[in-house]
Symmetry: D2
């Protein structure tokens, strides 16, 4: 499909989805997120050929939340290689994002790095292997995004910490099972900061473009992950990126991706493009209501899925 064709599809699908009643709900359990204007809706696409296009509120900052988990596992994988899979699995969980059931039967090894327990273990791995994890992680994100302005939002991080009983519970529970090496306080502090990263759709799309480019940054050609590692991160996003809606997202959209409770979604077409969508209201499974609908129509109309 031509660039103009893609623009037309994006624009028409965007307006169609914007006109449908939004049945989603804001993530009310995090005080700061509950204050966001729920009407925001933005889309931004960046292709490996240099094509870029945005509609709606693509230039508005938002909290990327769990989308940052994909960046954390990328940095851990880059730093340690295959041994990280001894501490976190690569299988879909079949259960909601905050489930403790499988930790209990799997001796503290989370099913994958995209459920909360898995991301918490990834944070612990990074703390073990970086001198200044919060700074080095931020440097890493700024580098792949070619954007030194990207930053954590301390207000969001504090807001989450103040009500983060579930994640405190998860982290201490995994610690009791032996799969957290550092103090729960330190791990959680890193985790809550990670989730507080803020980006616009454009920035988010740029940040993830290396996964569409077989692991290398487009702007300087330098390798973030090698071809095989990049394949694996994309595969993980495909099978596990949307909690217990991962199967349905693959089924309807057909692209690897990752969502966050801030209403953001990043999706990647390996070899082609990355596309960021943001709309704050969430469906029953915690993924952006409009975001999922937009991407479903986008890949159906462009026939641009990987399947």
């Amino acid at each position: 499909m031509t660039n103009n064709g893609v623009k037309k599809v994006i624009s028409s699908v965007f307006h169609k989805v914007a006109s449908i009643p939004d049945n989603g709900k804001l993530a009310a359990y995090i005080p700061e997120l509950a204050k966001v204007n729920p009407e925001y809706f933005g889309v931004y696409i960046s292709s490996v050929n240099g094509f870029e296009y945005g509609v709606g509120d693509w230039n508005q900052k938002f909290s990327i939340q769990s989308i940052a988990k994909a960046l954390a596992v990328t940095l851990a994988y880059k730093a340690l290689g295959e041994q990280i899979w001894q501490r976190v699995g690569v299988e879909p969980s079949g259960t909601p994002f905050n489930s403790l059931v499988q930790l209990e039967s799997d001796n503290g090894i989370p099913r994958n790095p995209f459920i909360n327990s898995g991301a918490i273990v990834v944070c612990d791995i990074l703390i073990c292997n970086l001198k200044n994890p919060k700074k080095e992680f931020l440097d890493f994100v700024r580098d792949i995004a070619q954007n030194p302005q990207l930053d954590y939002c301390s207000k969001i991080a504090e807001s989450e910490k103040s009500v983060g009983y579930l994640n405190i519970g998860l982290c201490n529970y995994i610690k009791s099972l032996g799969n957290i090496k550092n103090s729960p306080e330190e791990v959680l502090d890193f985790y809550f900061n990670l989730c507080s990263l803020e980006m616009t759709c454009r920035e988010l799309s740029h940040t993830f473009l290396f996964l569409a480019n077989h692991g290398s940054k487009l702007f300087d050609g330098k390798e973030v992950l090698n071809h095989s590692q990049c394949k694996r991160i994309n595969a993980l996003m495909q099978t596990c990126g949307f909690y217990d809606e991962s199967g349905e997202f693959a089924f309807k959209v057909g692209l690897p991706g990752k969502s966050g409770v801030g209403g953001g979604i990043i999706a990647v077409h390996p070899g082609k493009y990355s596309i960021a969508v943001w709309s704050p209201r969430l469906n029953a499974r915690g993924n952006s209501y409009r975001g999922v609908r937009f991407l479903e129509s986008f890949t159906t109309n462009t026939r641009e899925s990987i399947f």
Copy 2:
């Protein structure tokens, strides 16, 4: 990669994997399958451009077993459209292929059509909608494979029925939960026949080529599934095709596919090719030991995964 390049990779990976000790085990619980020579090993690829190539025992018939579940759900989807998803889900199960746990909490709706419970419900759907389900299903498979010789193996079907306590248990249990409409005997008879289908690697590769061709048969161009439906079946195979090893298969191989306890695996690269591998010994999660290893090396060396 050129056709010759693919041939070279297939040939060299085949010989490398053949030379590694095979740590798998025959599916001993089905008497007839336990009699198969465990040393068989064959591969066959068919591309949408007409390229074909096989190595090893690609011309030897074997029992495709659960691979037939992908054909059954295709026929059901073709016949009834989206309403089949009211009776069977599209999410990975996170549990072994024969798990009953989720049926209990999900009121008899199996997580996906590729675990045993899901395939049994698909059989029930087909019986409700076809006059002569065993004959019509076989006609369908013969048509997409362009091969009127394909057939069930009654010896295998009988062998499975004689020890099929688990599937009898599953079917009656789902019946008690209201998601089987016909008699368990009739449903199970169809199910055991379905799983007894026999093919060579070449035939298997031909049969699934329509899924690499966006839903249409290559030889006559006729549509089996439309573009969107084909995407969805491929996505389902990606997220659910390998039981509780689905995530790892996506991670290592990066192609949608389906395995069977006979040791066969079919994998599909949408828009490009279908590839069948067969080696009878199974790994701990019930998938062909050599088959998975072959495909992992194949996609790593050719860089021909979807991710």
Copy 3:
């Protein structure tokens, strides 16, 4: 409390409970049971001192259903001793009577002999150890009840078999896990007959009097179980006799007992008496609504619980 005191409490509690709206529901899934007049309500007590007393419909036959499981495990225990606990556990299940979850994690060993799966395994044990299990079991029950007229009801047995998908499922599932030695058909035929036993409240109270008499029949003093075995069967009824309401029954009533979906309950005060209650409508957890309420008031007013 004097015999007259007990009579007064029974009579007054009976009329009080009879006057309260019955919020229970008939066990509608078994066609024959659904035909029973739901207004029946009877009570009968027999003490080891020879005191007997009944009110309401105590002389009306009803289907004792799962109450028979306590008789089956008694006969198996008597015949084989402690080795039966290798095939069925003695722990409360924490889940509804028909749960399959724990079978899966416990390799086919049911948690206790009073959930369906456990009773099915007990039937299998009896078939392995008796020449003519249906006849010998009936002879055993007639002997401890001193009543040669007691019998199975073939109409009920057939009715249950016709809709017994769940039990067929359970039995085949346990067979697949290796804890059923005979054919599922034979085991289920015995099981459905067992559950079809019919008794009046008076007969039921007489049948279980040996458990109040430390294991020996009152009328001839002969030992059915020894003192320690009797203690164990009573303890099992206390912790497991009421499915996932066992804790609440112990809490409110404070007597070991066993219920059936026919609306019958037998409760035993070791060293003192056995009391049978029957009222067909069941509460949400499958135990007689009026039966539980009667026994709760009875032990509270007489202070005659074991705790």
Copy 4:
């Protein structure tokens, strides 16, 4: 049985069990408990008739640990009555003492007050209803024990807090599900102190004698719980007092009771006596190895069980 008969049984069973190899293991996860001499073994019985008798190390202080949960729920029940059962259940859990699985499916309502999660909720209830919970709870225990010297052990409480990841995890998890009203720190501080109570076998036996005396203190006749409430606490100890060994303890011993990881067990024969046993090594399910064996032989030989 005469008092002399009971003395003889206790003495002979004590020496028999003491001579058998102790296959249990110290609760190594709490540093301070791991330092205890594992050879300690003591027994003390107190009857409602004033009979008392002890053998072995009955006058040695030990950490009663989870046995204190029975005192905490007694005080909460006394203070609030039946409404406490809206926040904690009365059913056996069917799972180990620290399981999180059921919390997840039961929305934060622990199955019973004797698993850790349940005791943590009871602590929260007490904090909501007492001005100075730590002091008032201690006053309550000193009163029923008629012993103003009883006290917490701050060394043990600190030791548990330092490694209490599991309980921190549980408390925060329940908080996230809405069933903890105070701050997790405050609840856990109370919980760890509660578990640090120290008593000798004699003191433990005296403390629980009111449960053998239908709810009233023996020494002054004052009611702690009324007859019906006392029945209920005893019933709860019977069905839930020994984690996932509760069924087996009822089966083998036949008395309501409660165990702690310090190796103590209290058992109560309603209307007759309370008996405390202490031996630090634990069996696989976390209950005193020698303690369970002693009580089994004691009730078998005296025929003094409730069943």
